[in-house]
């Protein structure tokens, strides 16, 4: 993130300086007040397995909630001039097919009939089979760590690649409370907080590469993710699951634009607005906007682990709990008032030199309980 604020922001002190009141007013342009309620399709047709499609709706700019799900729709994967395969709603707005095996000779599309009776379909897309990931590697340099992916397609038929990934990392709290606040008093802890948790984050970034200007269809050391040496994610043990998808040229271009379409708007360094819709059309109303791009391809995965011991010893040891120490002391008389809220928790007893209990050291729940930052359930793939 660049350290500069929005150019526009600098205006407002001027308004005040010039004794002008109310220079900035909330503003909803005409025709924008009512947010459009467009159908959004997220997912792809898996040419070698289960397809998972999520249907939602666009929502208001000033809403800070999860997107409204589109439930009760009927979805089919349709083979051009061939059979169709239903998807069933496995969770609200999430539709899943049985494992399928597409013919690479054929084209496929997604057909949607919403609960309110509107029909939509994606364009027929050629079924592609994604080549396997050759390797996921990593290297360190002066700044930090970079993770690379390698792949190739001997048939030269992939050329356009997209990746996303899932990251998981260990979280080890540095403060282990011996006491807890229970029943209006501070007692020895009965069930200790977990001593390790696992953080998890799906990738929000879009990673794309193409080999059209190479003589071979080969991806060599494409950088997927980088961390500075001070990142807490690589402080203990880190794992990344890389998923690779073969794309058509059109879908590649769609993702290229989507990559630039973020919520960051209005500041100097933010990209300019981009408009994009996708390959889905309404069959009922030609002019209706539908968002999303549904391609037909398979998925390849590879997981690697990186532990702290493999990283240079000169790198700082970052736990993510640096801001938690040293603990504050809570005197006995304040115990009830401080701990009752549950936000601050006791850690250890503190004594006067006379031996009497002075009070307890304290920390925040976030520092004590790593479940605030991840899950204490060990992932089944964890090594």
């Amino acid at each position: 993130m660049h350290p500069f604020i929005s150019l526009r922001r600098v205006w407002w002190p001027w308004c005040v300086l010039l004794l002008l009141s109310g220079c900035i007013d909330p503003y909803l342009p005409e025709g924008v007040g009512a947010a459009p309620n467009y159908l959004v399709v997220d997912g792809y047709l898996n040419s070698r397995g289960r397809s998972l499609i999520q249907l939602s709706r666009t929502y208001r700019l000033d809403q800070n909630t999860a997107p409204p799900r589109e439930t009760g729709a009927t979805l089919f994967i349709e083979q051009q001039d061939g059979p169709r395969f239903p998807l069933s709603e496995t969770a609200p707005g999430t539709y899943t097919s049985i494992p399928l095996n597409f013919s690479t000779e054929s084209n496929y599309r997604l057909y949607i009939l919403t609960a309110e009776g509107k029909e939509y379909a994606s364009a027929f897309m050629p079924a592609k089979v994604t080549p396997p990931i050759d390797s996921v590697t990593w290297r360190v340099n002066d700044n930090g760590l970079t993770i690379y992916v390698n792949s190739h397609d001997d048939t030269n038929s992939t050329q356009y690649y997209r990746w996303d990934f899932d990251e998981t990392w260990e979280i080890v709290p540095t403060i282990i409370p011996q006491y807890e606040f229970r029943g209006g008093d501070v007692r020895l802890i009965s069930v200790p907080y977990p001593d390790v948790c696992w953080g998890n984050s799906p990738s929000t970034a879009v990673r794309l590469a193409k080999t059209t200007n190479l003589s071979q269809d080969r991806i060599a050391d494409f950088p997927l993710q980088s961390y500075p040496r001070t990142s807490e994610r690589i402080g203990h043990k880190y794992s990344i699951l890389v998923r690779q998808f073969a794309q058509t040229r059109e879908e590649y271009q769609y993702w290229e634009l989507l990559q630039k379409n973020t919520e960051n708007i209005g500041t100097l360094f933010d990209p300019l607005p981009s408009q994009l819709t996708g390959n889905i059309r309404s069959l009922t109303d030609e002019g209706e906007v539908v968002l999303g791009y549904v391609g037909a391809y398979s998925r390849q995965e590879k997981r690697i682990f990186i532990s702290r011991a493999e990283l240079p010893g000169t790198w700082p040891y970052i736990t993510g709990y640096e801001s938690c120490s040293p603990p504050d002391t809570v005197l006995m008389k304040d115990v009830l008032a401080v701990f009752r809220g549950g936000f601050t928790v006791p850690v250890e007893q503190v004594f006067y030199s006379s031996g009497a209990i002075q009070g307890y050291t304290s920390t925040t729940l976030d520092c004590a309980d790593c479940r605030k930052r991840g899950t204490a359930v060990r992932p089944n793939f964890w090594q």
Partner: protein, 922 residues
């Protein structure tokens, strides 16, 4: 000649000789003698002729005794207590009239006027008589008007001779630019250039030249031209507040002038227009002209006839200015006190100018008072200014230096709010100009200009930008018909943005462009039908496109420096203005320009059939210093014609092509200090524009009202627009984020202007469209599906009224009214969730508009008294800007706050702004 002298002598002797010995006297004893008989007696004794009306004197009898009395005394006694009066002229003729005496002495100059074609001329200005006469004449009439100048020696071969010279202000000695000098019969005329120079080629003979110009009083010169000659003309400044003076400046130029699409303003016109902070602002005034718009308030980026803000060549005494504004556009960067004229060419751009597509804005400063030292200044709510000027060598060289500074920093520090105290905002500009006349044939002019801005606004980020220019001009007159000007100029523009608060990411972002140019311009006036201009120019650009550097040891910002750019733009031009006959004039011009992008630099080559992205780079070519990386060149046609339909109406047509090799990239729609100027290179082609325009001009009510209708159609090729999701700052391969767009613009401009009388001003209406199409390349590069869409500055309807009313010599008021359609914007319409992330759904580009713009301002000018002898002349300007308090949106923008995206409307002037400015002159 001789007879004139004789005449003068007679006139004088009649006055001087009065009462002398040589005069005949009268002796006699009259007793109730009839008046007629009395007269016969006087005639017999004095040899005077006496004229009277017998009817008026038929009942009058004279009783009088006189001894050796002069005629005058006798008549005085005789006509005492009667209704008769007498007058004696130089030839001792006596006129007796009833009631009032006639003026028997001729008014000086009576004979020159009364004897057309008489060959009387040659009085020298220092003649005693001349001065006597001048003293008796109204102080508003120049003696030179009545003098007949006999110029030149011998008959020139073929009868054609050239008259040339300068028109200068009589008080300050400064040249008068754009004044016309013409003779009505035969009809021959020209206008002065930027040096106040004119040259006329015409048959030898007698002429009555009329001189007209903006801000000067009409005058005339009578000339008998025998050979090639020089005539220096001094004219008086037109002092507007005086009732006797009627402004007739160039009143027929609208119809008879060759140029179309030219708007010319002098500083006096500009001063009358009310502005936000009471200070005359040339760009604000230019914005009131038809066909000129800006994206919003507080922005001085001009959009001329649907062109982008980078398509205007802004010349300040021949040096290019890249950012003409202060304080993000609240003020224009030119101190009004030093300006002489501003000329805006919207079409029929002279071949002399090039390098920008849409317009040329030529700003000229004054030369400074060549006769005496003087100064002027003003005190306003945010800024103050001071100008000093005077001769270095009287009548030969002069200086003018002018400075302006804001004191908003001082105000900010006194505010109670902490964040304001931490803010700072200041700007200043300084202009200095020196002119020196080496001899009759050589003059030099030097100008230096510096303007800088600095802000830190309740944040850790400091913005700073700087314009620096210098120009040196040498003008040489080869002959009366031929002169040349050699100009060297240097322009620098740069900005930096510094962030220091958080030491971890303390950094400085910098940008700079330097331009050095040299040009030679020649003007040749072979005869009265042709005016030929030719010349050449070359300019070298050095661009530092951007660098981000860490500040301090703790900063973790990685340095990022973009490679420099270099280029040379050269051009040759020739143009000829031909007056085919009295009704038809044609101007033909051709300019040929050439651009070379120069190394050292690495050039990326992209796959030709694919959208340019980092991934489609197929080759990187490294060019060493001075190597030509890309060459673009082409002709630029400049053609215009005028046909006079009648004496007060004409039709003008023009076609011009322009080429532009430097492009401005801005990620806001307005000119802000963070714009980047980018040279054409291997991947970015130059912009080319063609404009066709036709106009009808008519003057009404004996030239007091000018009316015009101009319409134009413009096509633009290869101007830059941005791809969806473009990143413009610190982009190493900017060509991947911009596309070459096509544009078209068309419109009609209607202007009615009244520059005389108590009520004066202008009203204009413009209908114009400006559309862009990005249809090339892959679908991902296309914008709005390849359809035409409105440009950022497409504001179809625009009405402007500038009205002034003069109550008295000292009080005048002005009213300014502006309406325009709101500008187009791209809006985020909704959010959606795809690919594990929340996204924003945007409308088609520029599919929406901000609310319409409407503003009215009013100002009252109060002049001090007009006593000539006074220490200092002063005036007050009191005004209210945005009288209705309407919150016109400057921008509509969106911010992501706590996961919500909110829209805001920013209005810079949310309520009426009162201002008071004090101006003085000494």
């Amino acid at each position: 000649m001789k007879s004139f002298y004789t005449l003068l002598l007679v006139l004088l002797s009649s006055v001087i000789g009065y009462g002398q010995q040589s005069e005949k006297t009268v002796t006699g004893n009259f007793e109730r003698v009839p008046f007629e008989q009395f007269v016969r007696q006087l005639e017999a004794q004095t040899a005077s002729r006496i004229y009277f009306d017998p009817a008026a004197a038929d009942s009058l009898f004279i009783t009088l005794q006189v001894q050796q009395q002069p005629l005058r005394a006798v008549l005085q006694q005789a006509l005492q207590n009667t209704a008769l009066r007498f007058a004696i002229d130089g030839e001792n003729r006596v006129f007796i009239t009833k009631g009032t005496a006639i003026e028997a002495d001729l008014l000086p100059g009576f004979f020159q006027q009364a004897t057309p074609g008489a060959t009387i001329a040659g009085t020298r200005p220092d003649d005693e008589q001349e001065q006597n006469r001048e003293a008796r004449r109204s102080r508003y009439v120049s003696a030179a008007e009545y003098k007949v100048y006999e110029l030149g020696q011998g008959e020139a071969a073929g009868g054609k001779v050239t008259l040339a010279g300068h028109i200068r202000d009589s008080k300050s000695g400064e040249p008068v630019i754009g004044a016309t000098i013409y003779s009505e019969s035969p009809s021959i005329g020209t206008s002065t250039d930027q040096f106040g120079y004119y040259s006329l080629t015409l048959p030898a003979g007698r002429y009555d030249f009329k001189i007209r110009g903006l801000g000067i009083k009409n005058t005339r010169r009578q000339v008998i031209l025998r050979g090639n000659a020089k005539l220096e003309i001094e004219v008086e400044e037109d002092i507007t507040p005086l009732k006797e003076v009627v402004i007739e400046a160039e009143k027929d130029k609208n119809v008879s002038g060759m140029q179309m699409g030219l708007d010319k303003l002098d500083i006096k016109t500009m001063r009358q227009v009310p502005t936000a902070f009471g200070e005359t602002d040339i760009l604000r005034v230019v914005l009131t002209l038809p066909g000129v718009k800006s994206v919003g308030e507080g922005s001085t980026g001009l959009n001329v006839r649907g062109g982008a803000t980078d398509q205007n060549l802004i010349l300040f005494n021949d040096a290019t200015i890249y950012n003409p504004s202060h304080l993000f556009g609240f003020f224009s960067a030119f101190n009004p006190d030093i300006l002489q004229t501003v000329e805006l060419y919207k079409s029929a751009i002279p071949a002399k100018y090039g390098g920008r597509l849409s317009s040329v804005l030529e700003i000229s400063t004054r030369e400074g008072n060549k006769k005496k030292f003087s100064g002027s200044g003003g005190i306003g709510p945010l800024t103050s200014r001071l100008t000093l000027e005077g001769p270095i060598i009287k009548d030969r060289s002069a200086f003018i230096i002018s400075g302006r500074s804001s004191y908003s920093d001082w105000i900010l520090r006194r505010l109670s709010n902490k964040s304001f105290r931490e803010s700072s905002a200041s700007f200043y500009d300084v202009t200095a100009h020196i002119s020196h006349k080496i001899n009759d044939k050589n003059s030099i002019y030097a100008t230096g200009y510096l303007s800088t801005d600095r802000f830190r606004l309740a944040s850790d980020t400091t913005y700073r930008y700087l314009n620096q220019t210098a120009s040196l001009k040498w003008r040489h007159n080869f002959t009366n018909q031929f002169y040349g000007v050699l100009t060297g100029a240097f322009s620098h523009y740069g900005y930096d943005i510094t962030s220091e608060k958080n030491e971890v990411n303390a950094s400085r972002l910098e940008y700079a462009i330097n331009q050095s140019s040299i040009r030679a311009d020649f003007s040749y006036y072979p005869n009265s039908r042709h005016t030929i201009d030719f010349g050449g120019s070359s300019q070298l650009y050095h661009v530092k496109p951007g660098s981000l550097q860490p500040l301090g040891d703790a900063s973790l910002i990685a340095p990022h420096v973009l490679a420099r750019e270099q280029g040379v733009e050269s051009a040759l031009y020739v143009s000829d203005r031909i007056d085919l006959n009295q009704r038809l004039s044609v101007s033909l011009g051709l300019r040929y320009s050439l651009f070379n992008a120069l190394g050292p630099r690495d050039v990326y080559r992209y796959a030709s059939n694919d959208s340019r992205t980092e991934n489609t780079i197929v080759d990187t070519l490294r060019y060493s210093a001075g190597k030509v990386m890309a060459t673009y060149h082409g002709p630029e046609y400049r053609v215009s014609a005028r046909y006079s339909l009648t004496d007060n109406s004409s039709v003008k047509v023009s076609y011009n092509r322009t080429r532009q090799y430097i492009h401005q990239l801005s990620n806001t729609a307005s000119v802000s200090p963070t714009d980047i100027w980018k040279l054409s290179d291997y991947n970015i082609r130059p912009q080319v524009g063609d404009q066709y325009s036709i106009g009808y001009y008519r003057n009404l009510k004996s030239n007091t009202i000018e009316a015009s209708v101009e319409t134009y159609y413009k096509t633009l090729h290869d101007f830059v627009d941005y791809k969806s999701g473009a990143t413009l700052i610190l982009n190493d391969h900017i060509e991947t984020d911009i596309v070459n767009a096509r544009g078209k613009a068309y419109g009609v401009e209607v202007l009615v202007k009244k520059l005389t009388g108590k009520i004066n001003g202008w009203v204009s209406y413009t209908y114009s469209r400006s559309l862009v199409q990005v249809n090339a390349g892959t679908p991902a590069d296309q914008i709005n599906g390849g359809r035409y869409y409105p440009s950022n500055f497409d504001k179809p309807h625009d009405v402007t009224l500038i009205g002034n009313y003069r109550f008295s010599r000292r009080f005048s008021s002005s009213l300014n009214f502006t309406y325009s359609t709101g500008r187009p914007i791209t809006l985020p319409l909704a959010r959606y969730y795809v690919g594990n992330s929340s996204r924003v759904y945007y409308s088609d580009r520029n599919a929406y508009r901000v609310p319409d713009y409407l503003r009215a301002d009013i100002a009252l000018n109060i002049e001090g008294n007009h006593k000539v002898k006074k220490l200092a002349h002063s005036s007050w300007t009191v005004g209210v800007y945005n009288l209705t308090g309407r919150k016109n949106p400057y921008s509509v923008y969106f911010r992501s706050e706590n996961g919500q995206i909110r829209g805001y409307k920013l209005s810079i002037f949310g309520q009426p702004i009162p201002t008071v400015t004090y101006n003085f002159k000494f």
